[in-house]
Subunit: 232 residues, 2 copies
DNA sequence: TATTTTATCAATCCAAAGATTTAGAACGAA
DNA sequence: TTCGTTCTAAATCTTTGGATTGATAAAATA
């Protein structure tokens, strides 16, 4: 290979053929990209991607027939090296969040300056994830709000706060599916002691059995290391 | 008020008093900030925030005694207008993710140029969320990976698919904390029938008791209405 | 039609879980 | 020091849970 830096191979997808032409011109003029194809259909796009394995796909996500978001998901599931940049007319936080969740490596507004789009392509082609700072801000407001609502739920009166640290350890093991014997073995204490702790836990959490205790724990922020609620 | 733009009131928190002095100097020299306080303790910081209601808190999150992340969470729970920027020595994706999840409005590395910090303060003070683009990229890699793993898990070999519809109903009631009697009453069948179903469920899910069955169900997409996995 | 799957129920039987009471040792706070 | 809390443990007892076997009837499927 003679070039130092291989040209990025780009596929353009937009249901509006005028836009498509405009984008193609813009990207081609830049000189450092190979436009391997353009299409107005998300379904066709998937096939083209399988065939040509582009580095970058510019995907309009405001298309009528097949949802661009769904297309992004399908492309990601192909497991190729193709990286998708979402093109959208809206800076809606929910749209941004969903696109990024589904695997988009960038999100650029159609109203943004063309230089912005070129920059995004370069960044994403270089293996980074790129979001214009204004959209990053939008994204995080949405992201943080979804966690905040969770916090409110688990706050007010969380019975878990009444547990002693030892009881928390026991509950932790309960939430892993251990029985008395298993817990006793792991904490190096007798089975009767575990029973005492568990009974105290039941009292404090106001439940009748271990399953309810485990459910209460999981629903109220216990073991947040691995579990959390994110509205998606 | 005579000024067009009120000076942002800033609180600095870093357990290393040398760093603290350095940051204070940097921020003060800039001229457009009021440093309302500095402290090496996260606990003291919380009290100072309650007292002085700063606009911005620069919070070192690599502190020994009280975790800076925990401090961020507590500050957010105060429900004030104070916006926290995390200061860290590490560009670890997990750290960034957790800080942002807990409500940080920015994340800046200590190794970054001072202009970057000043810029972050301005952006956050203006109501935005600010992450340097390199860290944004890190964040999203982590974010997207957590959703990707979820998809993989819930696919491959989900034992829940072997359950009959009646068994699903029973399992649903199990995941609500019902015992045999409760389930029998709700499905208008005998307790022994419920026992049969539950035993079959255990066989199919390869578990030993109801708690493990419930945990398997919750971890494998059963009742996805309210729950999803995001490693946090 | 023959066969398999599903849903129903009963009778055991043993193991595990849960309730209750009592109590000693360690520790920190008043 | 005294008091309260926590962690530990045992004994006892009742209830629930779980395993197993066997059986019937309807429904789906081959």
């Amino acid at each position: 290979m003679r070039e130092f830096k291989r040209k990025s191979r780009v596929l353009l997808v937009d249901d509006n053929s005028d836009h498509l032409r405009g984008i193609k011109e813009l990207v081609t003029l830049e000189g450092c990209y190979d436009v391997v194809g353009t299409t107005t259909s998300a379904n066709v796009a998937i096939n083209l991607i399988k065939k040509y394995r582009p580095d970058i796909v510019l995907m309009d996500i405001n298309m009528p027939e097949k949802d661009g978001l769904q297309a992004i998901q399908e492309i990601e599931r192909l497991g190729l090296d193709t990286r998708v940049i979402a093109l959208s007319g809206y800076d809606d936080a929910d749209l941004i969040f969903r696109a990024m969740k589904l695997g988009a490596k960038g999100y650029v507004l159609k109203t943004m300056a063309s230089a912005q789009l070129i920059y995004a392509i370069d960044e994403v082609a270089a293996g980074k994830v790129y979001l214009p700072s204004a959209l990053t801000s939008r994204f995080f407001e949405y992201f943080q709000r979804s966690f905040k609502e969770e916090a409110v739920v688990s706050d007010e009166e969380n019975l878990l706060t009444y547990l002693t640290s030892r009881e928390e350890e026991v509950l932790e093991l309960l939430t892993q599916g251990n029985n008395y014997k298993g817990i006793a073995g792991k904490l190096f204490i007798s089975e009767t002691t575990v029973k005492t702790h568990v009974n105290n836990i039941f009292q404090k959490l106001q439940v009748n059995d271990r399953t309810q205790a485990v459910l209460y724990a999981l629903n109220n922020g216990f073991g947040n290391r691995k579990r959390s609620k994110v509205a998606v």
